[in-house]
Amino acid sequence: MIADDLAAVRERERTAISLSTARIAVCSAAGCISTGGAAVKDALGAAVIAHNLSGSVRVLGTGCLGLCHAGPLMRVTRGDAEPVLFTKTTPAFAERVIAGLPSGVLPLEQRCDLQQPFFTRQHRIVTSDAGIVDSERIEDYLAAGGYTALERTLAELHPEDVVREVSLSGLRGRGGAGYPTGLKWSTVAKAAGHGTFIVCNADEGDPGAFMDRSVLEGDPHRVLEGMAIAAYAVGAEQGYIYVRGEYPLAITRLKTAIRQAERMQLLGHRILDSQFNFRIDLRIGAGAFVCGEETALIASIEGKRGMPRPRPPFPAEAGLWGRPTLINNVETYANIAPIILHGGAHYATLGTERSKGTKVFALAGRIVNTGLVEVPMGMPLGEIIFDIGGGIPDERQFKAAQTGGPSGGCIPAAHLDLPVDYEALAGIGSIMGSGGLIVMDETSCMVDVARYFMEFCRDESCGKCVPCRAGTVQMHGLLTKMTHGTATDRDLALLEQLAELTTRTSLCGLGQTAANPVRSTLRHFHDEYLAHIHDHVCPAGVCAMNGEDPR
């Protein structure tokens, strides 16, 4: 397909959209599907046919609309009128919506106020297509301006220009560590020789995190487009998406999207009739957290046991089969097309001095609006939790926010004004991480929380290096003693010493960060540890303190 054909597809699709009287988007991400979203979509489709509205009403399944706890969500757009969002919909409700369309009367109940801060305070770049683009139709993505960035890249930009634009944007890796993306791309681009690979890390193993999953399920073409632009920039012809096997829907949607893109010559040989060839294949992970670590991920794609190896050499120099390899996270790639379209400098106007753009967070735990949000970098944590997240339910008190999952830390109320920024979060002993944000109220025990994350790291340790494999076992044992009310000061000292050992001597990031939840709770909630040890009391009332496990 050449640019003109693509323009024709876009035009045709836009005309069809403008001719339709209503567009009804049902959230088709995992959250809403689990509450019955697929049945709602099917009911809409059946009702459209029954009411003879096939020519004028379009039903689409789109990416995550955000308010996951109130699903299945349905967004109705009629002409230029403000869209209406319905919560907790059912097939019967879907029938009512369609039946009301000809007379223009939509149900009044189950409506969600789109002017509430949850919607108005967000800034959507990565998730901008949710509610607009059908996750399984490339035509929708094209009509929304999709693949324009790739088109422009191939027609107008040298690979160096692409790298420069990404560097200018200040984008940093969204997989957790926040490495500057432009710098990584230029390193890979400079690594000599043929056979460079690019990889999209879609292993998303943090408990409670589903940002990448939502992007893959809702807008797979955005990731493919970002990867194609990256491949052009670093000179790669082969890409892999390493997606965890627990995401069957994401896998299906990716397969569909790749097939569609190949058919339209947006992937494969001579993309858009240029000299650029690029193929993407899927590799399915088998559910090991460590396989998200880049060197373990590489081993896994190569067909070996997924265990990390010491770096250097970094994958940028020697990755897949020893070749230079670019590895980025799903959300990192999802930011690329907007950066190319609007310019790196424009992207960099958003955010703080060293953290640019937006970040998608998965809000979970003791918070009213559990779900997916995208906010500009630099937004104070308290605003995310109280304004967007709606605060703590049941009139309880905020106690701590956990960011970064098992590699991150707990942030106490005193730091609620902290801006979301890589350095700021690291400064108080947590990390940005990949976007998990778990809110806890006074019913959470911090020692128990630390124990939970240590249990996760102990079970997910690959077993290669001694400090992580055996150190997490011992730290978990010590934390368990504390929650049982049988620990002593000596145990606390041992715990602190082991936390330092695993951090400093482990081979990979898993072991090096496994003690972060312990260290951050020791830092901000030291009294709670002492209450368990000296007074044999759990202030939150979670730990049984009688030699048994909590709850």
Binding site: P310, S461, G463, K464, V466, R469, G477, L494, L501, L507
Partner: protein
Amino acid sequence: MSVTTLTMNGTLVSAAEGATLLAVAREHHIPIPTLCHFEGLSEVGACRLCLVEVEGSNRLQAACMTKAVEGMTVTTNSETLRSYRRQIVELLLAERNHVCAVCVANHTCELQNLAVSMGVHHVRYEPQAPQLSMDASHPRWILDHNRCVLCTRCVRVCDEIEGAHTWDLMGRGRHTLVISDLHEPWGQSESCTSCGKCVRVCPTGALFEKGTSATNKDPHFVTYLKMAREQKLWNR
């Protein structure tokens, strides 16, 4: 071959191009404890005993895998490093059942030697005492998982020197086990050539010969085989 000079524990030392810090240290009789390293096999950097401090980096580096670079300043024996090494040995001793008095490898065990040389005379951590199985199905040798430190020397010698790749790992974390073939009894392994190399490189009493009270260790045979192969001593 070009030569690199670097500073190790305050002394200027020379190194062949591409040499690891461990090789340089050994050449200059600077002791660095190791466990997963085995002369003649590939490096994995798993035991973390050989970690050293490199000036200008806040990360500790595994000496067995870090190449000597011109002008590097390396410390191999600071109090911090010694403390970390003692803790690592303690962690290993608490992890499985390392009861020397009843072990065939008593006095020839590398883990025991490490503990003695580092002054680890008691273990502060909770002994895990897992009840792991033994595989005595091979006619000549026994594998006792309870004494395995997961150094993977057996895996590597079998793959890299013997070319059989009978051994590999299964499971993860504390449940990791060395297995033969696809977790078949060793005696039924179709790939095992019964060469015995794995037994000879095992640092503890995890792999040992039936009916013996002390393991016959010959640490030099691997380097000899490798050298012979590289110099084509057996090519006619």
